[in-house]
Amino acid sequence: MKNDQTLGEILRQQGISRRGFLKFCVATASLLALPPGMVPAIAAALEKARRPSVIWLSFQECTGCTESLTRSDAASIEDLIFNTISLDYHHTLQAASGTGAEDARESAMKENWGKYVLVVDGSIPTGNPGYSTIAGISNVEMLMEAAAGAAAIVAVGSCASFGGIPHASPNPTGAVSVTDLISDKPIVNVPGCPPIPVVIAGVLTHFLTFGIPELDELHRPLAFYGKSIHDRCYRRPFYDKGLFAESFDDEGAKKGWCLYKLGCKGPTTYNACATTKWNQGTSFPIQSGHPCLGCSQPDFWDAGGFYHALSIPTEDTARTVLYGAATGVAAGLALGGLNRARKAHAARKHEKVTINDLEKGG
């Protein structure tokens, strides 16, 4: 399939009716959190859109982001990959391997220099280059080379966006995010561990229709990360009434009360989980009775414990406050109860666990 064909031409060739195309546009408007009145504009943009070459690089990652994308229900992954984009390189999804795979990446870069979309998942180690290599090329070298010819970069997942779990203390590989290394290209961060599949698909579709979406201070698209989980949570009325679950099996938990005291990071986490939800809109963690971990926020792994209420300070207060301010959260929330004893308690939670400890536990 040629890359110079428009999406409208491709769909017509495949026998997709105008009705089918408009239905796709309606679903896309919903996906992009755009008002339904925008459907004609989306249809006009998609009609003329040309399939961009997409090069997907995976560095220090767990493949969870790709797993998430391949379960996207936005337009079905087949439509997204084969109709909307030209996925020219992706370790996990491509059939080619070894030299053939690397040749595909190099020729796609050469043919589409300056025009392709570079998608990155995983953080980039800046310590020993040997920590993570592809075909003998270090991650940093491959990223910088591919980024030079990219029209835009999409950092998928919290690892590529903020360093993620590899970046967690003590960060043995010197893991950093894409924005830590590159500042001369448009970069869209799509954090989450993993991100919501339709959000990944939505960002790529937005790039096709209207270009780079409007972003917040952390380079996240406002359409998906503009509101906190807390603001959109159906349990919010319980928070406002002061009705909290105190443990996972008490009456409050069974009655579906607010999970704030069980460590819910919803008030400081910006993502679309509460409305878009997961598994074809079935549910999201809070609906299933588990606090939000805050996985789309920077350094969520080092935020002082998943089951500690936000009012209990972390061991790195300065960083928490900085991120809180950056995302528009009242900084006073976390500062209220600061005291040394609690800081020491939080620090203790990060003691190293030895194999002896594990054996004792068994």
């Binding site: 309606v26 408007a29 339904p36 079905s76 009434k241 069974k254 009775g289």
Partner: protein
């Protein structure tokens, strides 16, 4: 020893919910009045509103069943259902794997996607002409 069943761990929605059901019904009422007085159509994306488990069903139950139900087959099925309030439709789009990709309340005399589209009419005309030409061995005038 009596074993705890999964049902005992079921999480209740509670009495509070989001309180979004009534306001949404009022929004539909306003939209319906606008349709009647000004001919202005409205589409409400049910996925853009925070709803507690069961509240979407509560909205559908409140709207009830009307006289018309239609199915569209294009990139997966779509279900168009007029509610007991004429002019208020619940439209659900599915993908080819029968997963919901969008759910809307459309306040209109007929959802736009139910109408034949000009491009499809033109393509259909071409196909019919080609068939008649082939069948009759001559040119359709």
């Amino acid at each position: 020893m009596a074993r705890t069943t999964l049902a005992e761990f079921a999480i209740e929605v509670g009495d509070a919910g989001t309180h979004n059901v009534q306001p949404l019904l009022h929004e539909i009422r306003h939209a319906l009045a606008q349709l009647l007085e000004q001919g202005k159509e409205t589409v409400i994306d049910l996925r853009s509103i925070p709803l507690a488990p069961g509240e979407e069903a509560a909205i559908e139950q409140a709207l009830g069943e009307g006289e018309v139900r239609a199915t569209l087959s294009a990139l997966g099925p779509s279900d168009f259902r007029e509610t007991s309030y004429p002019g208020v439709w619940v439209v659900t789009h599915y993908n080819r794997d029968d997963q919901i990709v969008g759910k809307f309340v459309e306040v209109t005399s007929a959802p736009a996607l139910l109408r034949s589209q000009t491009e499809d009419i033109a393509a259909g005309l071409q196909r019919l002409e080609a068939r008649l030409t082939q069948d009759g061995g001559g040119r359709v005038v």
